[in-house]
């Protein structure tokens, strides 16, 4: 039993109030117990704490340890440059933290948008008198007075109404005016016509209602609560980065401990082992990874914006690429939302009857033709346009109306008709009721059918014929409306303008004459079939969730290629009756359509899909889509038709409301992930030439070939822009022919690690050590001789090692542009940013090697140009070796024919 099912007296009694409203004292008491009628912010993590989190995640902790060790070294052995190193590492932590914090810091405006929808002042009756109070002071039991233009302050049961119509769009997304009256209603609470919901607007008429719930417990508050609390969790990429950092930390710790022990056993001093520990941490940790990922995502979001997909959360760029299911609306997203009359049907097929049908379509219509333009809702406009073109302008005074109502599925008007206008052979003018709507809402009201300008009693044959015609029109993908009329026999009730104008609904909507059918087409967007095919090739399941009937939805689905076999079709009523398990079972079917659904059902579909491990993108435009948009991995709001609340709750806004744009964005997202893998390969390759010098230092008893600051010069300097350039690689066509990335597939998988650590990295390490030893040898160094850090030969040797790494990384950036394809086949010059990155890399290296400031910061010394030339062959060897590996991989390791199976490894080749 709920409040909509009670008689007015019972409602007042339950709420312990009366027709005189509450007393001021009781209102105060209730305010103190129930609190203010307002939308509250859900408690969130304070901003400083959010920033603090960025300084204390796993990667940051490893770096803090590194910095701590550096500061300790400075304290123990001052003047060896460890202070600079400590500060450098701390800077890295802060740079990473600021990058990520800025990315995550987005003002959550969804609640602010919701708050704007509630009114400031309302009229209430208290102590038997009308007064204006602040909306936040409204309490359960208050009697509120509403009239046209007012916003409803809280959920309230109607106890009096005069032609009261409200707009529930902020709550339900359905923009048709809804009648509110006091009669009891036994159906669902949310669909009850005797309840005015908070946040909705009074369109016309007036009424009195008793408030039964306020603030966050209203339906509106429920949406705010869900919007504020539902969290999508970490994005797949964020999860992967967490895993990568943990693996890296583990490797660092094991190496640090193992070689510390080895160093101790072979007689290295504590200081040497200690230095080694710091070096290993700094060399292993990919300091540049987070900023590079962030910048790469930012570039991806810019490319998407050019394709009319506005990304709000950076990580969503990559998440898009991993979606396995897209739940999409139909109207406006799949279709153009441009209604056009395509077919008409009457029982006799005669022109006069069709004209009568069009007269009803023209008069029972809220669209207008003003100044050469049609204005109104797309369906209404299409009907008016078609009628005007066929039978010209019609004028008739509308005396009363019952607006369209999604529960009644029809609208009715009562018009004054002049003699000579009527549909029958004999007529004298008068009042005529016109009705249009869904077949199931109108045919039961009809007792006659219009044939040859005569009212013929409708028999079973004619009824069946009409239903068959209705179905056959729907089967062609048309939205079909049924039209009927009734001549009202005098005496008329005292007429009044507006609302029902003195008529009783039940007395008008009976014994009607069935006039015919009109089929309207909302054509699919031309680019949608191609986009659907792309999704199918890419293994992404597309689920249409529409308010239209199942036949129309099915026909459109067939037209765009979404459905090829016999799909599972679930209608809204059926959906409500189903358990989660039944829905899961149906969702596992290959083709599924949800028809006659309202936006409020979306959240359940999305939740179930997510619980089943799918990565879900969902479209939405209404306020009550907001929780589903938040819950989905990717919430997609419509830029043109979407409400501000939906846009704020979403991760992506479609500037053109077009389904094809989603698919383009998915393609871009997949490309971004692929690019992240490329630069992870690139960054990890340089870890080996950074680690090997330390191992050599410990194991071979040689001077340290690469200082920690020089490692940072590579990780945070020379590598950055080329890595970013890899992030700008364009997605290849092949990307959308693969299934979505398996959630179990790792960013740092074994193949990628093998390629970076055991193939590319060692070549770079050999180059580095060659450069180092070459300079030492030329300088007269003897094996076992230790050199001081400021020894010129030593500084030149470390500079040569660093230069070797930089030169081989230049070749590596080309090598990492693809995993299997030859660089020549993807176009050597197809990514010009690579060359810009390389130019930057070379300039920075020249600065480090030849500028006094560079020398001072990085403990380098200028080297002869001949050394550069000596090192270039290593770059050539790396490049050619990788091309050879790719050739072997293509020829002998690629499965033939290529199979788009989920989980196919696309790792390091």
């Amino acid at each position: 039993m709920k409040i909509q099912t009670l008689e007015i007296e019972e409602v007042l009694s339950r709420l312990v109030t009366s027709g005189n409203g509450l007393t001021e004292e009781e209102a105060r008491r209730r305010l103190s117990e129930f609190g203010f009628n307002e939308i509250k912010e859900i408690k969130k993590k304070p901003l400083p704490l959010k920033f603090f989190t960025q300084l204390t995640h796993f990667l940051a902790i490893i770096l803090w340890i590194g910095a701590g060790l550096a500061f300790l070294s400075e304290y123990l052995r001052p003047g060896e440059g460890m202070l600079t190193l400590g500060f450098a590492i701390v800077s890295v932590i802060f740079i990473n933290a600021i990058f990520t914090f800025v990315q995550e810091y987005r003002a959550e405006k969804a609640l602010d948008e919701l708050k704007k929808l509630l009114p400031f002042f309302v009229s209430v009756i208290r102590d038997g008198k009308k007064k204006e109070i602040h909306a936040r002071e409204v309490v359960p039991g208050d009697l509120i007075l509403v009239s046209a233009g007012d916003k409803i302050p809280a959920d309230a049961r109607i106890i009096e109404s005069v032609a009261l119509k409200v707009n529930n769009a902020p709550l339900t997304g359905e923009s048709e005016p809804m009648i509110r009256d006091k009669r009891i209603f036994l159906g669902e609470f949310i669909e009850s016509p005797n309840i005015a919901f908070a946040g909705t607007t009074v369109l016309s008429g007036s009424g009195k209602a008793v408030v039964f719930v306020t603030g966050m417990r209203t339906e509106f508050g429920r949406i705010a609560h869900l919007t504020g609390t539902v969290e999508a969790g970490l994005s797949p990429l964020q999860k992967e980065i967490v895993k990568v950092t943990r693996v890296v930390a583990f490797i660092s710790a094991i190496m640090g401990i193992a070689f510390f022990a080895i160093g101790y056993l072979i007689g290295r001093t504590f200081w040497e082992n200690y230095l080694f520990a710091i070096g290993i941490i700094v060399a292993n940790v990919p300091e540049g990874l987070l900023p590079t990922v962030t910048l790469s995502l930012a570039m991806g979001s810019q490319r998407m914006a050019k394709k009319k997909a506005l990304i709000k959360t950076l990580t969503s760029v990559e998440t898009l690429g991993s979606v396995t299911v897209i739940c999409t609306d139909k109207t406006g997203t799949i279709t153009q939302n441009k209604m056009e009359v395509k077919r008409t049907w009457t029982a006799d097929g005669r022109e006069q009857t069709t004209d009568s049908l069009l007269k009803i379509a023209s008069l029972c219509n809220d669209a207008e033709f003003i100044d050469g333009e049609y204005r109104g809702e797309p369906t209404e406009t299409a009907l008016l346009k078609y009628s005007r073109e066929k039978i010209g302008d019609l004028r008739s005074e509308r005396m009363s109306e019952i607006p369209f109502d999604s529960d009644r599925k029809r609208m009715t008007t009562v018009n004054i008709i002049l003699p000579g206008f009527s549909f029958l052979k004999e007529n004298s003018g008068g009042l005529v009721a016109f009705t249009k709507g869904a077949m199931e809402g109108i045919l039961p009201l009809c007792t006659h059918i219009l044939i040859n300008e005569e009212k013929i009693p409708i028999n079973e044959n004619l009824r069946e014929e009409s239903i068959n015609a209705y179905h056959s029109l729907m089967d062609t993908g048309l939205r079909v409306l049924t039209f009927a009329y009734k001549e009202i026999i005098p005496p008329y009730p005292p007429l009044a303008k507006g609302g029902m104008g003195g008529f009783v609904v039940e007395e008008i909507e009976n014994n009607m004459v069935f006039a015919g059918l009109i089929g309207l087409e909302d054509p699919p967007r031309p680019e949608v079939p191609e986009a659907i095919k792309k999704c199918q090739d890419a293994g992404i399941k597309v689920i249409m969730i529409t308010g239209d009937g199942s036949r129309t939805a099915l026909a459109i689905s067939r037209e765009i290629g979404l459905v090829k076999g016999i799909p599972v079709i679930i209608e809204g009523d059926e959906f409500l009756m189903m358990s989660d398990r039944e829905i899961i079972k149906n969702l596992s079917e290959k083709e599924i359509i949800f028809a006659r659904m309202t936006p409020k059902h979306k959240m359940r579909v999305v939740s179930i899909l997510k619980e089943e491990g799918e990565r879900v993108a969902v479209t939405g435009d209404g306020v009550n889509d907001a929780p589903a948009l938040k819950k989905a991995d990717i919430g997609i709001a419509m830029g043109i038709t979407g409400t501000d609340v939906a846009k704020e709750a979403s991760d992506m806004v479609l500037l053109d409301d077009n389904f094809a744009t989603i698919v383009n964005a998915v393609e871009e997202g997949r490309g971004v992930y692929e690019n992240i893998r490329k630069f992870v390969s690139y960054i990890f390759s340089s870890n080996i030439p950074e680690i090997v010098p330390y191992l050599s230092y410990v194991l071979l008893r040689i001077p340290l070939p690469l200082t920690i600051m020089q490692i940072l010069a590579v990780d945070l300097g020379t590598d950055m822009l080329p890595a970013l350039a890899l992030g700008a690689e364009k997605p290849t066509e092949e990307l959308m022919k693969r299934p979505p990335r398996d959630p179990k597939e790792r960013l740092l998988n074994l193949k990628l690690v093998n390629r970076a650590y055991f193939f590319l990295g060692p070549i770079e390490a050999v180059a580095g050590l060659f450069g180092f030893f070459y300079v030492l040898k030329v300088g007269g160094w003897k094996w076992g001789e230790m050199l001081s850090p400021d020894n010129l030969i030593y500084m030149q040797a470390t500079t040569a090692c660093l230069t070797a790494i930089v030169i081989t990384q230049i070749a590596n950036v080309f090598a990492c542009r693809s995993f299997k394809e030859s660089v020549f086949s993807i176009g050597l010059f197809s990514n010009r940013l690579i060359f810009a990155g390389i130019a930057f890399e070379i300039v920075l290296q020249l600065f480090i090697v030849y500028h006094p400031w560079g020398n001072k910061i990085f403990s380098t010394a200028p080297i002869a140009s001949g050394i550069w030339l000596l090192l270039i062959p290593f770059a050539v060897i790396l490049f050619l070796s990788e091309e050879m590996r790719k050739l072997i991989s293509r020829r002998y390791l690629t499965p033939s024919p290529p199979s788009p199976l989920r989980g196919e490894d696309r790792g390091g080749g």
Binding site: M1, K2, I3, L6, R14, L15, V16, E25, E26, R29, R30, S32, E33, F34, G35, I42, P140, G141, D155, R157, F189, F212, V213, M216, R217, G221, R222, H225, L226, T229, V230, G233, L234, K239, V242, K243, R246, V247, F250, S579, D580, I584, M603, R604, S607, E611, E612, G613, P627, P743
Partner: protein, 282 residues
């Protein structure tokens, strides 16, 4: 189990709604109902009148339901007086509505509700009334911990409330998400989670089956309090029944307190049950 049910009435509307839960429980348990109003000293006369009016209305409603009802009006400290009545009359369960202070004070320390929970020897059902529009709860959400004490009484209470309102019951468990060091968070489907259902919840379900109460189950990993309110909100439950928190103040500060979280953000009425009857097999 419940032969004598007491409901505390005061000048606030909440207590009247709370009394309706008590009345319906009394009806289904064929228990005697005690309507009890304890006037604190210095209570304004208007409040006194309001409370007496409420007592009268509830008594009439109880009579219409053919309940054996008795009214008790006393003056003094509410907690002490109720405690005395409970001992004297042998009350099995006390219904009391939460006050705003219970929601505003952290861990509702020092509030009447907390004192009732700590002092009374009987079972206690604290009712937080937030939605007067849902008069008879049709969908009840019952969040359960992995380890449940007083399983019999909890199941009995849930079953009787469900029977009283012919409600559907959803048993809900919000475990911590699974994670591994290198793997991070591990996703399990609802069916996989079900295999990990704790034994106590199975026992609870067995009891419900014994009472022939229609129930369903669901496990959603996450932060307990928030996951419960999201579930209640998104599925439009009408009532939540959950156990009183057994966490100490320190534990609540360190680990949070799901009961307090739900109390603050519940989208529907909430009953917090502190059972007082020992299990027969314990």
């Amino acid at each position: 189990m419940y032969r004598k049910i007491l409901t505390a009435v005061n000048e606030h509307l909440n207590s009247e709604i709370t009394a309706r839960y008590a009345m319906n429980l009394a009806r289904i348990c064929d228990a005697k109902l005690y309507l009890c109003f304890i006037a604190e000293r210095g209570l304004p006369s208007a409040s006194l009148e309001n409370a007496e009016e409420a007592m009268r209305r509830i008594f009439i409603e109880a009579s219409k339901m053919d309940l054996r009802a008795e009214t008790i009006t006393e003056t003094g400290d509410p907690v002490r007086m109720v405690s005395e009545i409970v001992r004297h009359e042998g009350i099995d369960i006390v219904f009391a509505s939460t006050r705003r202070e219970d929601v505003e004070k952290r861990f509702f320390a020092g509030t009447v509700a907390r004192r009732l929970l700590l002092t009374l020897t009987s079972s206690v059902a604290l009712v937080r009334v937030v939605h007067i529009g849902r008069i008879h709860p049709k969908e009840i959400l019952v969040p359960l911990k992995a380890r449940i004490d007083h399983v019999e009484e909890r199941a009995y209470f849930t079953a009787k409330i469900a029977q009283a309102f012919s409600s559907k019951t959803l048993l809900f468990h919000a475990p911590k998400p699974l994670s591994r060091f290198f793997h991070g968070e591990i996703h399990l489907s609802p069916l996989e989670w079900e295999k990990k259902l704790p034994d106590d919840i199975y026992h609870f379900m067995e009891h419900l089956r014994r009472y022939r109460v229609i129930h369903d189950g669901r496990m959603v990993p996450g932060v307990t309090g928030r996951t419960i309110t999201i579930e209640a909100s998104s599925k439009r439950h009408d009532l939540i029944i959950m156990g009183a928190s057994e966490r100490s103040l320190l534990s609540s500060i360190l680990k949070g307190n799901p009961v307090e979280d739900v109390l603050r953000d519940t989208p529907c009425d909430l009953i917090i049950l502190r059972p007082g009857h020992e299990d027969t097999d314990s």
